[in-house]
Symmetry: C5
Subunit: 96 residues, 5 copies
């Protein structure tokens, strides 16, 4: 899994019908300070989160299997809202 910030949503009228009813969230993954290669992702919402929140995202086929619908074309899902991140305190281990 990875930690990310919900930075927006996607509106799509013409889409695979198995996606209907699922909120599509744009996620910016948290990264270490000197990394500039963070890539935006889209995940469905399983926990009721909102823009601005830090969340836990699961990727891959397990994201699809964690839904009820069979063969849902989904490869990422928000599975937790993060209250706090507890790190040991070293500066180069901070997350941004």
């Amino acid at each position: 899994m990875f930690l990310g910030k919900v930075i927006g949503t996607v509106v799509s009228t013409k889409k695979d019908e198995r996606l209907i009813g699922h909120k599509l969230l744009i996620i910016k993954p948290l990264s270490f300070k000197n990394d500039t290669g963070s890539k935006p992702m889209v995940a469905i919402d399983l926990v009721g989160c909102g823009v601005g929140e830090t969340v836990l995202v699961v990727q891959g086929s397990t994201a699809s299997r964690s839904l009820d619908k069979e063969n849902a074309p989904v490869d990422a899902a928000v599975v937790g809202i993060v209250d706090t991140i507890e790190t040991a305190g070293s500066k180069d281990e901070d997350l941004y």
Copy 2:
């Protein structure tokens, strides 16, 4: 999933027969401004999209399972056409 722009198509005469009848789209993933590592991908079309459109792409084995054909050799599929992307407005969260 990720957001991308359809920038072209692939013509392939000699291919696995399970790919026959599927349009092969070249996708340029959207990225944040200071990321230069965007890699071109090829996805099949499940929603009827065209060159120039911004789309939602699903990756991995779920892309294959979302088709009807058994064991289709596919690892990416366009599953939605994007109408609008709604972000909170911070510049470093814009997508390109």
Copy 3:
């Protein structure tokens, strides 16, 4: 699999119920000296490790299947605590 250092934990009250009871560890992957693209990950703990330890992490759907719960929304798990890393000694093969 990859080697990483446990640098912290994630506290999440509102989460998928299949994650309840699993410690969520933040992992910093080990990398070669001139690589600056290391990305933080979150893994569940299968072996009872703690912050500061170097661990072995498995990714993908096998991480989910290695749990008892069906369809657990998990894509990374700590499956070993590293005692020692034995390398041949070339400087550009050291891990950081």
Copy 4:
């Protein structure tokens, strides 16, 4: 899937027996002009391609399932030979 150029072959005498009889191709993925992070891959050949050709490569567990052999230890397969790539013409969308 991704587009790549077949740049060579791998000779391996001592290998998993389920790989016997499959040509092992070294693939250089096509990338956009300003990306220098292209990584070499090895894929088996499902279509009868040769060195120098541009091909379509599928990755992941679907590559394994597209073979006849059960549990073949394969995660990439060439599934098409590319005749032409048709892009809209913008320079920063050219593939190299």
Copy 5:
């Protein structure tokens, strides 16, 4: 699959019991000359290779399924020892 060099081994006393009896190899992936983003990986040994050898590595859930043990928490396996790499000879296609 990818090509890599075996650069060391991992010693882990406290680990998932399904990993017992499997040698854990540290692999440095081969890359093209101007790529500095090579990341160390850990793979189990299916062919009896040693430190210093160039090997073929398979990743993902197929690596787990290629073992006998059910649900082995493994996502990478060495499936061949490389005798020779035959490339067409262009300098920017050499592997390091």
